[in-house]
């Protein structure tokens, strides 16, 4: 452990490599987490099938790439559309029945069941093999090649961030975004003022699944996927949202990128088997301090 720490101190290029890598891929996690936060904040649905939508998106990119020869980056709009449509269907069949449930476990159980169903279906359709869709874009060498970054990570970073910003702008300034925000604030009042709540919910959930799909396209280009790896992305996005807080757009980006960079560095110093543990410990510490701080400022709800 000390030896590994010394390496980072003696050769800062490895530290830089770990951090840059983490920041770049962290944006992908942030995108998926943004979707989760959207559905959670607007509809009060914690979607535990988040990761499965990600993997499904990845499989679509993979299939379009290998079966139809479409460049993986160009598949992203197709994936987004397919996942949007899938999101609408899932909303109509499952999610709409969960709205307004007092017991949060019913939501979790239902979406978790959906996750298992999707895993098995993906395995039946795409097979259980580990797949990757490498766009072979080459490398970027920094500082005389002491830091190597594959271009696909840079491209996926740019895509993730621009999709996030685009959505942020839509939410903030468009009429459509206004209806979503109004519904999130007070669904009943929004309904009285003529907003079709059901339509807003359906669209919100579909936007979430579309974001997952885009995330999945990026995941299959940067790493590898198989039908049973979805939970990693569900948990990571859940963690990012908890850390950032609901409705905190910049917070999601920061914590998404920060967790990944931290994970790389801790993995390097104390070993891959502890990197998840360290992140979870950190999460606990942050939540505890936050609740202590909140207790100090306790006041009545207005």
């Amino acid at each position: 452990m000390i030896t590994y720490l010394n390496i980072l101190i003696d050769s800062p290029e490895f530290l830089a490599q770990l951090i840059i890598n983490g920041l770049l891929v962290g944006a992908i996690f942030a995108l998926i987490a943004y979707g989760l936060a959207l559905a959670w904040g607007v509809m009060d649905i914690i979607n535990f099938a988040q990761g499965e939508f990600v993997i499904f998106g990845g499989y679509i990119t993979y299939t379009l790439f290998y079966q139809f020869g479409i460049h993986p980056i160009l598949t992203i709009p197709i994936v987004a559309l397919v996942l949007y449509a899938l999101g609408l269907i899932i909303y109509k069949t499952i999610i709409s029945r969960l709205l307004g449930q007092k017991d949060i476990f019913i939501t979790i159980l239902a979406t978790f069941g959906l996750a298992i169903l999707m895993q098995q279906l993906m395995q039946a359709i795409f097979g259980p093999d580990v797949v990757t869709a490498d766009p072979r874009l080459g490398m970027l060498k920094l500082f005389d090649g002491s830091i190597l970054i594959s271009n696909i990570q840079i491209v996926s970073f740019i895509i993730a961030i621009s999709v996030g910003i685009l959505l942020f702008v839509v939410m903030k300034y468009s009429r459509f975004g206004q209806t979503i925000r109004a519904t999130a604030q007070n669904p009943r009042a929004a309904g009285i003022l003529g907003i079709d709540i059901d339509k807003v919910y359906a669209n919100t959930f579909a936007i979430n699944t579309a974001l997952c799909g885009i995330g999945g396209s990026l995941v299959v280009m940067v790493w590898t996927i198989h039908p049973f790896i979805g939970l990693v992305y569900t948990f990571r996005s859940f963690m990012i949202v908890i850390l950032a807080g609901l409705g905190n757009f910049m917070g999601i980006i920061y914590s998404g990128m920060g967790i990944s960079a931290l994970e790389n560095v801790t993995g390097f110093v104390i070993g891959a088997e502890f990197q998840a543990a360290v992140i979870f410990c950190l999460l606990v510490i942050i939540l505890v301090t936050r609740s202590i701080r909140a207790r100090r400022k306790r006041q009545y709800l207005e």
Partner: protein, 402 residues
């Protein structure tokens, strides 16, 4: 009218079925098998099932099994264990109690075998298993379980011996990095590699245990880049194999010797998917079509490969070959026991010393096969070449990795 004709026809069918079936049943020996046909092991589970089917087909084709002057055909009763150990155990119970099988073939994977073995043991049902290599299976004192394959700690030991020969420096200066998944099977592989590396006096510079939900290996691989070990050992099922070669390229990591497991199940040889990313990697295998072993049922290893290819349209992975071997071993033991008694067959199995296309098979007291070595193959341009151990090697190991 039509209804009446149909119902008569159905009755006739049922009656004839009833009349034939007792006779047909008397002529078959039922073997039970719970195999992963769905869930995360389904690819390998399907190879297993095909191996069993082909084994049964050829054993039956060669006259079946003769017990007390009477000829029996083998028949397998299959269940899908959905890749879950609990399901596997209850299906084993069902096979023995409901379906009345007296002999079992193993499931796929060490985990499932570990779940099923206590059940077969409790009922005194002999089981020949072909896909559970974890050495923790063989220190439980099981009396009715026999495994045709090499145990897991042997998987990559040969790579350690090879780096000792090839590195061109004293063993004490050789550095080894381990990136091995945190599950019982992979950790057995690690233990084997550690034993041999320590015996040679090599230094382990990285010893990372990869999480089961492995999605990113950046931190481990940057460490490899920083410490430049002579040998990198990666074992994390097919996801570990695929992810490591993919990320080694993205991070610009190179080592002189890369030894892995599961190259074949990860399809690293598929150039359309992985290009030449995995070139010159050393891959552990239980068996390859090019090994020089032969037996009565399928002839040579090459011959088995051709038969399997003709039947299913692809070259058999070792998971299929060892499964066929398990059927051969079971048939051989029942023939030698000359009885359908479970204990008689168990004793015959313990005394097995059989040459097969899969290799020599002879069981230790613990039930593992001690007569067959693991082999190491080098992947070059989409093809595997057997490079170690020396007595079965067909090609020279290329070192260092260019």
């Amino acid at each position: 009218m039509i209804k009446r004709v149909l119902s008569t026809a159905v009755k006739a069918l049922v009656l004839s079925g009833l009349m034939i079936s007792p006779a047909a049943m008397a002529d078959t020996i039922k073997l039970g098998a719970a195999v992963s046909l769905s869930g995360k092991y389904s690819t390998a589970g399907n190879h297993t099932q095909k191996g069993y089917d082909l084994g049964v087909k050829y054993v039956n084709g060669m006259g079946g099994v003769v017990v007390d002057g009477k000829t029996y055909d083998l028949e397998i009763v299959y269940y899908d264990d959905e890749s879950t150990p609990a399901r596997g155990a209850s299906l084993a119970e069902r096979l023995i109690l409901r379906d009345g099988v007296s002999f079992m073939l193993g499931p796929y994977s060490s985990g499932l075998t570990k779940a099923i073995a206590p059940v077969t043991e409790a009922h005194g049902v002999p089981m020949v298993e072909a896909n559970g290599a974890s050495r923790s299976l063989f220190n439980q004192g099981y009396k009715y379980m026999f495994a045709v394959l090499s145990t897991s700690e042997q998987y990559l030991q040969e790579a350690v011996n090879q780096i000792a020969i090839k590195a061109g420096k004293p063993a004490s200066e050789i550095t080894v990095a381990l990136a091995i998944e945190n599950d019982p099977f992979s950790q057995d592989i690690r233990a084997g590699v550690m034993d041999d590396a320590n015996r040679h006096g090599m230094t382990i510079v990285i010893d990372d245990k990869l999480p089961r939900d492995l999605s990113d290996m950046t931190s481990t691989l940057v460490k490899v880049k920083a410490l430049k070990p002579d040998l990198l050992v990666v074992s994390g099922h097919s996801k570990g194999a695929a992810l490591s070669v993919r990320q080694m390229k993205d991070l610009g990591v190179s080592v002189n010797m890369l030894a892995m497991t599961h190259c074949e199940s990860a399809k690293l040889h598929d150039k359309e998917k992985f290009g030449n990313l995995a070139d010159y990697a050393l891959c552990a295998a239980q068996w390859a079509p090019s090994v020089t072993s032969e037996g009565a049922v399928f002839g040579t290893a090459g011959n088995y490969s051709a038969i399997f290819d003709g039947e299913y349209g692809y070259v058999p992975p070792y998971q299929a070959a060892e499964s066929s071997a398990a059927v051969i071993v079971m048939a051989d033991a029942i023939t030698r026991a000359n009885s359908l008694d479970k204990d008689a067959v168990r004793d015959a199995l313990a005394a097995t010393d059989l040459s097969t296309f899969y290799g020599q098979i002879k069981f230790s007291e613990a039930g593992n096969n001690i007569a067959k070595p693991m082999i190491l193959r080098q992947l070059i341009d989409g093809k595997y070449y057997v490079v170690a151990p020396a007595n079965v090697a067909t090609d020279e190991l290329v070192y260092p990795r260019p």
